[in-house]
Amino acid sequence: MLTMTGTIEAGHKSHLTPLALNNQKAGGDTFEGTVGDFTHPNPRMTCRGVDVFYNNGATHAIKDVSLDIGEKEVLSMIGPSGCGKSTILRCLNRMNDTIDGCVVTGSVRLDEEDIYDRGVDVVPLRARVGMVFQKPNPFPKSIYENVAYGPRIHGLAANKTGLDEIVQNSLERAALWNEVKDRLGQPGTGLSGGQQQRLCIARAIAVSPEVILMDEPCSALDPIATAKVEELIDALRTQFTIAIVTHSMQQAARVSQRTAYFHLGHLVEVNDTDKVFTNPEHHLTEAYITGRFG
């Protein structure tokens, strides 16, 4: 520390650490509600008071979460392992239905429709709200068939020509067409990791979804493949609403407009991405993104 005599104290360690900064943030020892703004002026999907339990109620994984996903925005969901971000993502297209003992309460709406209503058919729902998973999982079929499968079973093409157009259009929008146009008959599993993931994205968009859910889509990819997928996300944003779970702070900062931070099943903070990564409101958000968590 600089003293008035102008000498520096021996063994001095600067007081200048984010400890002081962190102490000025919102939030105490108990959860006091989501800070920031979980609503969106033009939501495509809304969650209100969502709770998720595993093991028939023994594990309370998501606690009273309310969150909007805006029309044609990219919303990133971040948080430490086990915080519930993938769980809430799977609520958005009822993928949690496939897990024995999983119970979801509260309201999840796509536009104005409650997707958990008894009358909702999950098959067309999952076409409207598509999903891309962490590990690329192309079907054991040709590149063409990977993309054509969904439109075919949903009756989206009147004939082969129509199907061809959908396949080409989807592969173009997934920035993969030029790389595979001369080998559409070859197995999708023969592509590189990054290409496989873009093939999965093409497969998802082939059925004209309204929302695309991405669960750590780049964690199995090399940096160049990751960059290509991020570029793709940026392009898709003009046509689709996207929710992405990611462990990469930098990726969340780069690709999304809003960021939601989860912690132990609670939605701690939702804010513009710029704000979250420069001056988050909640001290837990700051601690997590600066790596001071735990």
Binding site: M1, L2, M4, G6, T7, I8, H12, K13, S14, H15, L16, T17, P18, L19, A20, L21, N22, Q24, D29, T30, F31, M249, Q250, A253, H263, L264, H266, V276, F277, T278, N279, P280, H283, L284, E286, A287, Y288, I289, T290, G291, R292, F293, G294
Partner: protein
């Protein structure tokens, strides 16, 4: 809910940040001392001491280069965000301001060399007294700004903004007073120009201290108060008015 820790998970990150902060502290100490020694050399009419101040400015320049390099390395390796990012950006800006204060202190030492080694002609205490009083004031500004920086004390930093307002008032008054010496005796013109340049250097020294205070406010509050009047800053931050910082007319 579990409380987060305050140490970085990667301890080396905190070590690197502290290493940079310590270098900045060191620059602040050197800078204040440089100004004190420069003024002392002028009071004692000692150009040998003045030359030491001029040479020692190289140390500040070297520290600036070293610190900037460490900042670049940290950004490349750690990709800091939020408070860490504001901190590292602020440290970089403070480094630049401190190096410039060193340049201004060197100019004061340069006056001593000019008067007592080159010209062998003292301008007289009645002309130099403003250098002495102003240097004490701006030296205090920098000390307070660096203490505010070390403690992230927004109120203290705001106090430096107010001191800068007074500095501007006194700067104008001093210029008017000096101009009367020209009217009294035109032979004073040579010294007048040197003293004005010296006063200007001190005014710039104070300006850099004010910049540092502004950086403290940004680091603490994430509010950029550059180019804002002190009254507006006070209102923005909801601060109470600080005590008056006395301008000392005695060197």
């Amino acid at each position: 809910m579990q409380m987060a820790g305050n140490k970085h998970t990667i301890h080396r990150f905190d070590d690197e940040l502290n290493e940079i902060a310590n270098l900045v502290d060191k620059m602040g100490v050197i800078s204040v001392n440089q100004l004190r020694r420069a003024v002392k050399s002028l009071k004692k009419e000692n150009p040998v001491s003045a030359h030491k101040v001029i040479n020692r400015d190289r140390k500040l320049n070297a520290l600036e280069v070293e610190t900037d390099d460490k900042i670049i390395q940290l950004i490349a390796k750690r990709a800091p965000v939020a408070g860490d990012l504001r901190q590292i950006i602020t440290l970089g800006k403070v480094v630049t301001d401190l190096e410039r204060t060193g340049d201004e202190a060197r100019k004061i030492a340069g006056l001593c060399v000019r008067f007592y080694e080159t010209d062998h002609h003292s301008p007289g205490d009645h002309i130099l007294r403003d250098i002495f009083s102003m240097s004490k004031y701006v030296g205090n500004m920098l000390e307070i700004a660096m203490e505010a920086f070390s403690r992230l004390n927004v109120e203290q930093a705001f106090g430096v903004l107010r001191m800068d307002e007074e500095l501007e008032v006194q700067f104008e008054a001093i210029l008017r007073r000096l101009s009367t010496f020209i009217m009294e005796d035109s032979r004073n013109i040579g010294h007048f120009v040197d003293i004005v340049l010296g006063i200007r250097a001190l005014e710039r020294f104070g300006g850099h201290a004010k910049n540092i205070a502004g950086h403290v406010i940004f680091l603490s509050t994430a509010k950029d108060v550059r180019h804002m009047e002190a009254d507006d800053v006070q209102q923005l931050l909801g601060l109470t008015a600080p005590g008056e910082s006395a301008w000392c007319d005695r060197g």
